[in-house]
């Protein structure tokens, strides 16, 4: 398999995407924005279509539109207006509808096939692409890992981050920009419809397995690189599309991680003598919120009356 030049390139590209996409995904899942990558993909498709139709570089055109779209989304989200939700769908569906129409009206003779962008064509990656991918991946990692603590802090408690003097809006715009960059980076490999899978699913696995932010990041990257490379290999031998294979593997890892957690929780619960019987309830206290008032009520009468 490694004797084939295209497979060598494909595996390097898979490692780059498997490394980069989950680092973005961890921040997106933390902000509960796991579907945003999908929306940015819709907008990027318009860029691809414009690039194909005007016979200019579709990847560059996709990068420009995706970054513009992502920044616009973040500004709308920042304003927290009720109209923002609707504006998002206008942007998403406007993007994909625009792409379909632009491609249909493209001048005769131009390569008007969106399929390889929608579902990915890993094995068509060239060595020149690899150079561009490496640069893009380095830029993304500089932000998602290099500024990881700051992004993490801004998402954890925005008020506190503002009081601490953190430029929250600028950080979020930066994350939006690298999200768009990752979408375009992964576009050729996974396809615009599947990119979000490799961003979010490894992060979702980490959510099940890891205990903290740092270990989440490491777990997500390990899962990402693992499924991206093994998916590429499987797709070579099984003759399946690379993007779909990679994302299906990520789904499988997620299901296993979820099972492992349920089993672990179940064991812990059995070990606990005072175990509750509500096995159907969400496992464990996800939020400490309601416990606070309960405890203060409970401790109320016992509190010493100082002063």
């Amino acid at each position: 398999m490694l004797g084939y030049g295209f497979m060598q390139t494909a595996l390097v590209a898979a490692v780059l995407v498997g490394l980069t996409a989950p680092t973005v995904g961890v921040h997106l899942v933390q902000r509960r924005l796991s579907l945003i990558g999908d929306g940015v993909g819709h907008v990027a498709l318009l860029g691809v279509a414009l690039g194909l139709a005007t016979r200019t570089a579709p990847v560059a055109a996709a990068l420009v539109t995706a970054v513009t779209g992502a920044v616009l989304l973040e500004v709308l989200r920042h304003r927290r207006s009720a109209a923002a939700d609707v504006a998002l769908s206008v942007l998403f569906y406007g993007g994909i509808a625009g792409a379909v129409v632009v491609v249909a009206r493209a001048p005769a003779g131009s390569a008007v096939n969106l399929d390889s962008y929608l579902f990915g064509a890993l094995t068509t990656t060239t060595r020149a692409d690899l150079v561009a991918f490496t640069v893009l991946a380095a830029v993304v990692l500089t932000v998602t890992v290099g500024l990881g603590r700051q992004l993490f802090m801004a998402a954890l408690d925005e008020d506190f981050a503002v009081v601490a003097g953190l430029p929250v809006l600028r950080l979020n715009l930066l994350l939006a920009t690298v999200t768009a960059g990752t979408v375009v980076l992964s576009m050729r490999i996974l396809g615009l419809l599947l990119i979000s899978g490799l961003m979010v699913l490894p992060a979702a696995c980490a959510q099940q397995l890891a205990r903290g932010y740092r270990s989440s990041m490491l777990t997500a990257v390990a899962v990402g690189v693992g499924v991206a490379t093994s998916g590429t290999v499987v797709s070579f031998y099984a003759d399946t599309p690379s993007g779909g294979t990679i994302v299906l593997l990520a789904v499988a890892v997620f299901v296993l991680a979820r099972l492992a957690r349920t089993v672990r929780r179940g064991t812990a619960r059995l070990a606990d003598a005072g175990a509750h019987e509500d096995a159907g309830a969400p496992a464990g206290p996800r939020s400490a919120g309601p416990i606070g008032p309960a405890i203060s009520r409970w401790r109320g009468p016992a509190r010493p009356s100082a002063g």
Partner: protein, 229 residues
Amino acid sequence: MSRPDAPLLAVRGAAVGHDGRAVLGGLDLEVGPGDVVAVRGANGTGKSTLVRTVLGLGGLVRGRVELFGTPLDRFRDWRRVGYVPQRTAVTAGMPVTVRELVATGRLPRLRPWQRFTEADRCGVDCALEGAGLAGDGHRQLAELSGGQHRRALVARALAGDPELLVLDEPTAGVDAAAQQVLAATLAGLSATGVGIVVVLHEVGPLAPVLTRTVSLGHPTPVPLSGAVG
């Protein structure tokens, strides 16, 4: 630039509220180094609004607020201010350990891309200890009780070594033993010259630490009987 002799926090003739409508007016408050000022008042008197206002989170309708001698809208040196929000404000889609949460309080002291030094790690350790969470750093935030969660927020503010510390009901839901730890920590900070504003529903074990109490509804600072100036 801030004047060296200026109070850490000065509120002069201020009215605070929401959307330009004042809920609380005629506020005058000055906090100097070592002061521990309690802000008290019934629910809905605007305690939290006052806190959010002095922290620049909006709400100033009239009057002036100065931090370290600089008007609020021009103040940029936020690392000198520590904040403990009232609600359990921290929500995360991803897991986070207590230590990781507390360590974010240290970030304002670092430049972007700068790594944590030994001093930063010590600062986080001290903060965990000061909030009575030594040994709990490895725990997941979602596993903590409401009271422990609140203590983690206190530790996060302490980690930044602030010169002015603003706490919004840090003792609600916190047991008496942990309140004692917090009282000792605040007393220690006050002794080193940190100015403290603390919104309290019940004074409890913090009583001996307070140097002044402001009761909202009585806008002028009322000296606490027997308090040390």
